[in-house]
């Protein structure tokens, strides 16, 4: 799997490159700003680009803008944006085009190597990886007496993991349940929130996020 990295700090750039190579990824380019990222993507045609939000020259949301440019110039490129902080608004901007292959994670998550590698693969395959912090923020904005209150604690856990973009199998692994049990929970959640069933993980994420943001 071909990966391009955009990160301005050499320490993190090299660490990330090593981590991904050790896990069987082919890091074809590691660049230090947004412009170089767009070049590298067009030249090396990677499966996924991992982009830090804060990049030169402005050290603002340069990386996010570069990621959006990449998806515009070469549709189908999966993009995983990593950052020292997460903002709901940025998540919304990344997800806005409605196509899959998007991730937005705190840099902390890289330390949980298995989970991170799983997220990179998921995004490269057209899935979604949304940071638990963003999901938690979305949950915290919910009114106390909404339909969410009718979910059992276990169902809320499942819903959070769904919003992060995980598949039923991954949810089952995480919560130490059988896939059948997770499927039952998912069906119950979708019924309680009146959301459409969908086989496509990414579409399921969008439905859940739209629901969470809409209330």
């Amino acid at each position: 799997m071909r990966v391009v990295i955009a990160e301005d700090l050499a320490l993190l750039r090299d660490g990330l490159t090593r981590l991904l190579r050790d896990n069987g990824f082919d890091v074809v380019a590691a660049v230090r700003d947004g412009e170089a990222l767009v070049h590298a993507v067009l030249l090396d045609e990677p499966d996924v680009a991992i982009v830090d939000i804060r990049l030169p020259p402005t050290f603002r949301d340069e990386g996010l803008r570069a990621a959006l440019t990449v998806r515009e110039r070469r549709p189908g490129t999966a993009v995983l944006v990593v950052s020292q902080y997460v903002e709901q608004e940025y998540a919304a901007e990344l997800l806005a085009d409605g196509r899959g292959g998007v991730g937005y994670l705190l840099k902390d998550r890289i330390m949980d190597v298995d989970d991170f590698v799983d997220a990179v693969r998921r995004v490269a395959d057209g899935g979604t990886a949304l940071d638990p912090d963003v999901v938690a923020q979305l949950f915290s904005r919910q009114q106390a007496e909404g339909p969410l209150e009718r979910l059992t604690p276990r169902e809320r856990e499942v819903l959070s993991l769904m919003a992060e973009g995980r598949s039923n199998a991954a949810i089952a692994r995480q919560l130490v349940l059988t896939v059948g049990a997770v499927e039952k929970h998912v069906a119950s959640i979708l019924a309680k929130l009146r959301l459409p069933r969908s086989q496509d993980d990414h579409r399921r994420v969008l439905a859940v996020l739209t629901y969470l943001q809409g209330n």
Partner: protein, 537 residues
Amino acid sequence: MRARVRTLAFLLTAVPLGAVGVLVLIAGWTLTVLLAITPAVVPVLLGFRAVLGSLARAEASLANTLIGTSVRPPVTAAGGRNFWRRGYSVLWDPAFWRQQLYVLLRVLVGWTLAVLEVSLLATALGATAMPIYYRWSHPEIANGWPVDTLPRALLCVPAGVVLLFVGIWLLRPLRTLFRGLATRLLGDDRVAAMTPAEARARRLHALELHAGFFGLLNALLIVIWALTSRGYFWPVWTLLALGLPLAIHAWVVLVRERPQVARRQRVPRALGYYEGVALSVSLFLVLVWAVTGRGYFWPVWPILGFAIGLAAQAFVVVVRRVRRGEERIETLETSRAGAVDLQESELRRIERDLHDGAQARLVDVGMSLGLAEQKLRTDPGAAQELLAEARRGTHEALEELRDLARGIHPPMLTDRGLDAAVRSLVDRSPLDVHVDVELDGRPTPAVESAAYFVVAEAVANASKHAGANRLDIRIRPLDGADAIEVEVEDDGHGGADESGRGITGLRQRAQALDGTLAVSSPEGGPTVVRAVLPCAS
């Protein structure tokens, strides 16, 4: 018909009331000008307004009875913070000037129209009654057309009847005219209810009307002078008498609408008005002197008086400016000391947070890693446990550093500005928050940051102390000033401690930018935090 009779009566009352009004104006202004720079001018102005006010009320009740208006002159209480302002506030009272204008118009227009109307009616009656008395008087209507026979006298009757009808008919438009004048000048101030732009247009329009009236009337008088005697140039007197108020009016409007006129001379507005009035009156007196034989140059005395007044006022202005400068230095010293204190205590807080938080966590992570290293060979299971613990510790340390960084300067503020940062802040709050940010462009970073922390502190207080459910956040440019206004209102139970650390810090922050912070939090709520932050650097 009754209405017309009443209108005629109203026209005739112009004679006595107009005379009284002119007397009041002359006495009032003479005393005011003579005592202008003495303390006695204050009671004079207040008395002047009181007398003028009673006259206006008498005029209003007369107009209400005779020409069917329904006006009530506004009663204005003396305002002003101190003795002098109390007096000068009279001059800023629009009702005071409108009442004077009414009195003047009652004389200038009222007398003229009353005389014309009465002469017209008298002529009409005379002509109609001609057949009765032509025998004794033989009036000569035109050259070589004496009315000395009955047929000639009878011929006059239809002319008289027509004139009579014209005279009676004319009473109607006259009534409308005076109704309009009384409503506009004696009634409530409609200018006060206007927007500044409308009021400004209206003031300029009023000046145009005044100038137009001046031009027309004098042109008319000069034509009359040219057509008649052409002897002594008497219209010079109306030119001078009406020119003086016009000059003063024009100057006042100029200083008011074009503040740069006064600013360029580095004088306050009041002094600007004074200068204009003194200059106009001096010029008027010199012209009067020039017209009246140019003997002894008597205007030197009032001009000297004005010069002394001007010098005294200028002195007061300079003294006040110096004192204001000193006060300003004092404020700056206090706010700078506050800013330094604030910075100092912020740095200490950050140091403590780092020491107790992230640093301690990293030590803990290091210890876990050391232990894991030891146990790697002997007890790989325990080593794995320790490594996982170290990873969790790192995550927690990062989380604390992130919160700390957000408290120093939120990343969203750097990235996207105030609006986005405030929205991101309230996204993290469980309260029902309404954000309304109306800014054109981005303020300076210092202002953005101060505004952000005002909101952040208010939001934190609202959920922590006030027990609020709903918050309204408004950030917008302050009208007419280069500043932004930040307002946060909650529906909590109020009673916020204004001397608390958070509020004090915010106040110092605002003062360091030359701004202000006010907290209103009565028991029972609501709490409103309002900061005004100047944008000019």
